[in-house]
């Protein structure tokens, strides 16, 4: 499942191209700018996310506390 998503994820360049197309049709430039910033943030986060989400989350086990 996570591998599939990884493949589906668009590269930043593809996203920028797509956005450029959208801008002409968009009613609000400010909205687009915000969306662009958000997309950049998500891309940045993708780069620091741990590999293999499913296994990583599965391996996070905490026993004993308080």
């Amino acid at each position: 499942m996570p591998e599939q998503q990884r493949r589906e994820r668009r590269t930043p360049k593809e996203r920028v191209d797509e956005e450029a197309d959208e801008v002409t049709a968009a009613p609000s430039e400010r909205g687009e700018k915000l969306k662009g910033e958000l997309d950049d943030l998500l891309d940045e986060i993708d780069e620091v996310l741990e590999e293999n989400a499913e296994d990583f989350v599965k391996s996070y086990v905490q026993k004993g506390g308080e």
């Binding site: 620091v48 996310l49 990583f56 989350v57 391996s59 506390g65 308080e66």
Partner: protein, 514 residues
């Protein structure tokens, strides 16, 4: 305890000295035996050793902890896995609790001071992870998370502590705090994907902890967790004070969430101490806001990110958590007008807390998503929604669970929370300078200043330090124990002159005795 009828106390709220204990989630990566006790010990030893080398050039005794107390024996840190327990120059306690590194902030005088101290704790853990690398094999890493659940039914706590007047009947605290803890989740929750511990399935909920509460009142913290914890360990004069130990809260990363969590709690406790609920009831208000079935109500509130779910009150009314919060806020505003907020951070902090509390409740009713810069659960939810929208993810997708977990990663480069801060999406109440100072310097306004000051000046002379005492070795004579039973004594204002004139621990003790 002698039961005194409410209303006859003529009570006076005591200053809301406060602190937060955080158990961090911990993993040791790349090791065959990922022992969490070992990993936690490495963090603390790594931090202490690193700072001994960095700061205390004169320290020649390898068996004594430079920052404070209890390094039993002189084993090198690599093999020391028994419980490690140190006190830092900022007055905090940093130790291994069961299988977690735990950081207890020093005592603070108000919510803002505590926000700084709590954030400083994150930085101490961050530095500890770096320092621990020196103790690890290549390819290994210790990583900590400031959250409260592993998503598999294991929870670890973030406990708040507040100084409370001993004269307040505990039943009175229980009556007003049960509905409080159930409903404050709307702004204290750190957000969680899914549910645990037998709770009904849910996509996303407000709180990390709600699924784990099984009793209304009790002493436990690990099994059958109670919403109101009865631990009675004042760490102060037991004739005068109680330390209310709150276990029904999440670890917050958003400073505004911590600020509100602590600031509102301080005001509510002062109102209970001053019998303000009872006084208001006499003027036509409700006597209390007791909720039918507070344990299931914890989940009802937590499991509804729209904040529209209602809970039933003992008088038959149905209210949303936000509506109950409005009632507490209205009372608090009245309390501020009539009594003032001197015991809860004064007008500067207490007044600001009231204003922010009102704003947050209004937005929670109008559109919670506008609070993504203030509340953890909303910040996390917004991030999850953005990823779900972009990547077409369904709830249950492991990537969303990973985002949830990594939101709490304490490593600056991996923390998703920190990334939101860096991109200006989350509001800060502190400056990074203040926070870094608070990693080494104690708050000025409590006895933590004295504790931390002694440790900073005379690390070798401090044989042991605790919340309410410090033991000094002043040479030849027997060890000197200095009691600190009053949490607000020992502040900078009290001991600045003492520290300025006493050049040795012996002189300090002599001056204290004179």
């Amino acid at each position: 305890m002698v039961v005194v009828l409410a209303g006859n106390l003529g009570g006076m709220a005591v200053p809301k000295v406060c602190g937060i204990e955080t158990e961090y989630g911990v993993v040791l990566r790349g090791a065959a035996d990922a022992n969490p006790v070992l990993a936690s010990s490495m963090l603390i030893n790594g931090y202490v050793e690193h700072h001994r080398v960095g700061w205390d050039f004169d320290d020649e005794s390898p068996d004594r902890d430079a920052r404070g107390m209890v390094r039993e024996g002189a084993q090198p840190p690599e093999i020391e896995t028994h419980l490690v327990n140190t006190v830092l120059t900022n007055g905090a306690r940093y130790y291994v609790d069961h299988a977690h590194p735990e950081y207890s902030t020093p005592e603070c005088a108000d919510a803002l001071e505590l926000v700084v101290a709590d954030k400083a704790g994150e930085r101490v853990l961050g530095r500890s992870m770096q320092a621990a690398r020196r103790l690890l094999e290549p390819g290994q890493e210790v990583v900590v998370y400031k959250n409260n659940s592993d998503g598999k039914g294991n929870s670890y706590g973030t406990h708040e502590n507040y100084l409370v007047d001993r004269a307040v009947p505990f039943a009175s605290l229980v009556r007003h705090l049960l509905p409080w803890f159930v409903t404050r989740q709307v702004f204290t929750g750190a957000g969680k994907v899914g549910s645990e511990n037998g709770a009904a399935p849910v996509d996303f909920q407000l709180s990390q902890r709600a699924d784990f509460f099984e009793e209304e009142v009790g002493l436990e913290t690990t099994l059958k967790r109670p919403i109101v914890n009865t631990r009675d360990e004042p760490h102060a004069d037991p004739q005068l004070y109680r330390r209310l130990h709150v276990i029904a809260g999440d670890a917050n990363l958003c400073e505004v969430a911590t600020y509100l969590k602590v600031g509102t709690m301080a005001i509510v406790l002062a109102m209970i101490e001053d019998d303000f609920f009872e006084a208001a009831a006499g003027q036509g208000g409700r006597k209390d806001y007791s909720i039918v079935g507070p344990v299931p109500a914890m989940r009802t509130v937590s499991h509804d990110p729209t904040c529209k779910a209602t809970v039933e009150l003992a008088d038959g009314a149905r209210m949303t958590a936000v509506e109950v919060q409005w009632e507490y806020l209205r009372l608090a505003q009245k309390y501020a007008d009539e009594t003032g907020l001197a015991m809860c951070g004064g007008e500067t902090v207490g007044g600001d807390v009231l204003a922010r509390w009102e704003h947050v409740l209004g937005e929670l009713e109008r559109d919670p998503s506008t609070l993504s810069g203030q509340l953890d659960w909303v910040a996390k939810r917004s991030l999850l929604d953005a990823f779900a929208g972009r990547d077409g993810l369904e709830w249950g997708d492991p990537k969303l669970a990973l985002l949830d977990l990594q939101y709490h990663d304490v490593r600056a480069e991996r923390s998703l929370y920190e990334r939101l801060v860096r991109t200006g999406k989350v509001e800060r109440l502190t400056t990074e300078d203040e926070v870094m100072t608070a990693t080494t310097e104690a708050p000025e306004s409590t006895r933590a200043w004295f504790r931390g000051g002694c440790l900073a000046r005379w690390p070798d002379a401090v044989v042991a330090a605790n919340w309410d005492s410090i033991i000094l070795d002043v040479g030849g004579d027997p060890l000197k124990r200095i009691p600190m039973m009053e949490p607000l004594r020992g502040s900078k204002a009290h001991v600045e002159d003492l520290f300025a004139t006493a050049t040795t621990p012996a002189e300090l003790v002599a001056r204290l005795a004179s």
